[in-house]
Symmetry: C3
Subunit: 137 residues, 3 copies
């Protein structure tokens, strides 16, 4: 029987925020010992990633890389209804994905030592973001 | 007990097609109330994405971006057995992924308001594509 | 009830290695007939992909593409603690992902004819890599 819970965040604008603690808490609340923890963000301009959790320059470098790969306001984009970061945010989300699944082992989220779960806001302004966590056995 | 069904598509060539309705129907047929819906494409030159579902220019801009990121017939590619879009299609599929998992909540596919599920054909010619949907609880 | 097993690899340095046989064996060992097989790598500088399994130039072209997309030692990167491939390996892993889910059908891993599962080492030196396989029904 699956356990499911909804998490809600107010992002401060473009950038990554750790949500590892909340996901670990959901696994603990589920009472499931061996299974899968699925994390899903219900938006198309924010994504979920696993990233190195020790040195913050990894995440700032990642942002720098993505700014170069998918430039805001690129003249090739037609879809600019909500500003120059609108279409870039959609492309960034598709390249980094909105779903993520992590094993549950001995009742805990089985991340590697250096792995953290991050919500990546791709819009410049802060947004209200919904994340569903589902734990199955 | 998992529910599983096979969907089959004839794509019209390169581009994205909504398959949200078929995935939602599979969830309804499963009778599962709370769980996960996994979608998988059994190919290496087509992929599955979640994308904004309201303005078609989002998907045409996405195509334009990908054409620039992974140019057909790039001289760095050796693998061109099936033409200039052959290796590009493999790279595009790996960057956008062949598997996707979405929560099931209250018996329904729990997509965000603006999220749709799209099959992305990366070859210029149409192909027969198989997609397996698995719903677990 | 989920089945779970840990696989361990010693990679020979940057490049892709097939792990399809080991994943298929885990599915057979699980005894599960219909469900999902989840594969997870517990690191942030190696990833898991589905790739064409017939012509090895597909994987060498993929490597060539990634070297151009995410250059080692790119001057825009600050995080270089472990050398010029350090930050590049993190970016490559995030773009190609650390988790993968494949359907299980009739007791077997339901890959397409041309799909193989590959562990992609992104560091130049070989590393010890842990992969957890979870099979659910």
């Amino acid at each position: 029987m699956a356990y499911q819970t909804l998490l809600q965040y107010r992002t401060p604008g473009r950038g990554t925020s750790s949500i590892t603690g909340d996901i670990s808490d959901a696994v603990a609340d589920s009472g499931i010992e061996t299974g899968l923890c699925h994390v899903f963000i219900h938006h198309t301009s924010a994504s979920l990633i696993l990233c190195e959790n020790a040195d913050p320059t990894v995440r700032s470098d990642l942002e720098t890389f993505m700014v170069r790969l998918v430039p805001d306001g690129d003249p090739m984009f037609e879809h600019m209804d909500e500003g120059p970061d609108d279409m870039a945010a959609h492309v960034r989300s598709i390249l980094t994905k909105m779903d993520l699944t992590i094993p549950v082992t001995n009742g805990r989220l089985a991340l590697g030592t250096w792995q953290g779960v991050y919500l990546w806001e791709h819009r410049h302004h802060g947004h209200h973001r919904k994340v569903t966590v589902t734990v199955t056995e």
